[in-house]
């Protein structure tokens, strides 16, 4: 690797206790949209296998852009993304995307929406619907199989999007503010669900959020971006012990200190 990501304090690739290659390696990405809007200014970081990495940064700094470049939906102006050792040139079956704005088909039922990734990948009706039923149950959507998206609440729609991404059984989940549209109580429940699901399914996750508390609570690693055009400001590993009661974790000093230090860092970009 010639291109060492710009990292400070906590951990660089290879020093995180994972000797294997990362699930995603982002190297020196820049993005300039047509019209001269610069969204990314050379960002580099790794997403270790089997971990949850969050991306956090000021609004409009380029979080969605970097996630879409990793997904192969948007082309980078320069730099590259390597997923499981191969350079990304477009979308691939090993990655699944959860959209900030859900992206559900309003003319299709919950069942068809959840099964749609499988449908596009050529699964037969019986097979894809039985897989979809499984994830509908995991996402607590049982009973809504035949409902249409406009009949669901924002939180339920987001769960349909999550179930659709989980159903294709990709190794890597790319999630763009998946819990942004739900209120705080449900949000916490989702975070628990996500953690439980990840421990069951062993996936690598890249998770965009604008909530520091959420990032610290769910992440193994947090990538903090500067104000746009984004650069990596810092990469932090909260190292929170998540074995206990969620209430106690949120009151532990390790958790609170980590939230505070990220807040101090992000505040720089707000006040500038």
């Amino acid at each position: 690797m010639t291109d060492t990501p710009r990292l400070s304090s906590h951990g660089a690739p290879g020093t995180t206790g994972f000797s294997q290659e990362p699930a995603i390696r982002v190297m020196n990405l820049t993005k300039e949209y047509p019209g001269g809007i610069r969204a990314l200014e050379g960002i580099s970081f790794d997403v270790p296998k089997g971990e949850l990495t969050s991306v956090i940064g000021p609004s409009g700094c380029g979080k969605t852009t970097s996630l879409k470049i990793i997904a192969g939906l948007v082309e980078a102006t320069s730099g590259e993304v390597v997923v499981n050792g191969t350079q990304v040139r477009g979308p691939g079956p090993e990655r699944a995307f959860v959209f900030q704005e859900f992206a559900l088909m309003p003319w299709a039922t919950v069942l068809r929406n959840v099964a749609f990734g499988l449908e596009l990948r050529g699964f037969g009706r019986k097979e894809r619907e039985s897989i979809a039923h499984e994830y509908i149950a995991k996402m607590n959507l049982t009973g809504f199989e035949d409902a249409y998206p406009h009949q669901l609440s924002g939180g339920m729609r987001q769960r349909v999007g999550l179930a659709r991404a989980m159903a294709v059984d990709a190794d890597i989940l790319l999630m763009d503010e998946p819990f942004a549209s739900v209120d705080e109580q449900i949000r916490r429940k989702f975070q628990e669900d996500l953690l439980r699901l990840l421990s069951e399914e062993k996936k690598s996750v890249l998770f965009v959020t604008h909530s520091i508390e959420e990032a610290v609570y769910v992440s193994d690693q947090i990538v903090i971006l500067t104000r746009g055009p984004a650069q990596v400001s810092n990469v932090v590993r909260p190292g929170i012990d998540r074995t206990g009661d969620p209430q106690n974790i949120r009151r532990s000093s390790a958790y609170l200190d980590c939230v505070e230090s990220i807040w101090v860092e992000l505040r720089n970009y707000l006040e500038e």
Partner: protein, 250 residues
């Protein structure tokens, strides 16, 4: 419709208007308006007559062929205009001009080129209906939520699958509205064409009835055409209502 808090069924308003028509007819005020009952009687004479059946056949043939062509061409052009900005820029202005121009003026020119038969009628139907279908299709395709396309691509959809599973359904509300308007204009086209040609189809019948002052027959024919136009547009509107729920929630 409600009157002093009572709901009055639609049929009632129809009955009232028919009664007024009947009274005006019976009073013999205007020679153009025969009593409604005479018109109904004429309806039963006109429909089985060979004149009417021949006129219907040729009208329907012209309408069906012209509409078929307009649907295929209008939808394809609309999709290209919506999906490829260059095509949209190139064609947009022309389609808009033709969509809003008084095409009736072209029919005599068509007659001069294509003669007094079926081809002129087919082309007239086509020209009347194709533009609005293309424009509405374009609007529908342009309004497809870009994140649905990204969603499809993220799951590895081919261009073909993107189109048949996402773009088509997302554009369906506008597409159907375009088809409904196109049907109505096509029907106008076929009748106006025949009236101008005046030797075939319904145009010939209208000419015949009005020249011989057969007002009940004249009105009966008009009612039949109104009825057909209403049924055709309601049939499309039925499908429109089925997709209306997501037109607003895209």
């Amino acid at each position: 419709m409600t009157l002093r808090g009572f709901r009055i069924p639609m049929v009632f308003s129809l009955v009232v208007w028919c009664a007024i028509w009947e009274i005006i007819g019976r009073l013999n005020l205007i020679s153009l308006i025969p009593p409604f009952t005479d018109v109904v009687e004429a309806l039963f004479e006109v429909i089985p007559s060979t004149d009417f059946i021949d006129a219907t056949m040729i009208t329907f043939q012209a309408f069906a062929i012209g509409m078929g062509l307009a649907l295929v061409v209008g939808i394809s052009v609309g999709i290209l205009m919506g999906r490829i900005p260059a095509v949209g820029n190139l064609m947009g202005m022309w389609v808009n001009i033709f969509e809003s121009s008084p095409l009736t003026a072209i029919v005599p020119a068509l007659m001069a080129i294509l003669g007094f038969g079926l081809p002129t009628m087919i082309v007239t139907v086509f020209l009347f209906s194709v533009w609005v279908i293309a424009l509405d299709t374009q609007v529908g395709v342009e309004r497809v939520n870009p994140s649905l396309i990204e969603m499809g691509r993220s799951f590895g959809a081919s261009n073909r699958a993107l189109f048949s599973k996402i773009v088509f359904f997302a554009a369906l509300p506008e597409l159907l509205a375009g088809i409904r308007l196109g049907l109505i204009r096509g029907l106008k086209g076929v009748i106006i064409g025949q009236l101008l040609i005046a030797v075939i189809g319904m145009g010939y019948l209208f000419e015949l009835y009005s020249r011989n002052f057969l007002m009940p027959e004249f009105w009966a024919l008009l009612i039949i055409l109104f009825g057909f136009a209403y049924i055709a547009s309601e049939a499309v509107a039925y499908f429109e209502r089925k997709v209306a729920f997501y037109a607003t929630s895209r």
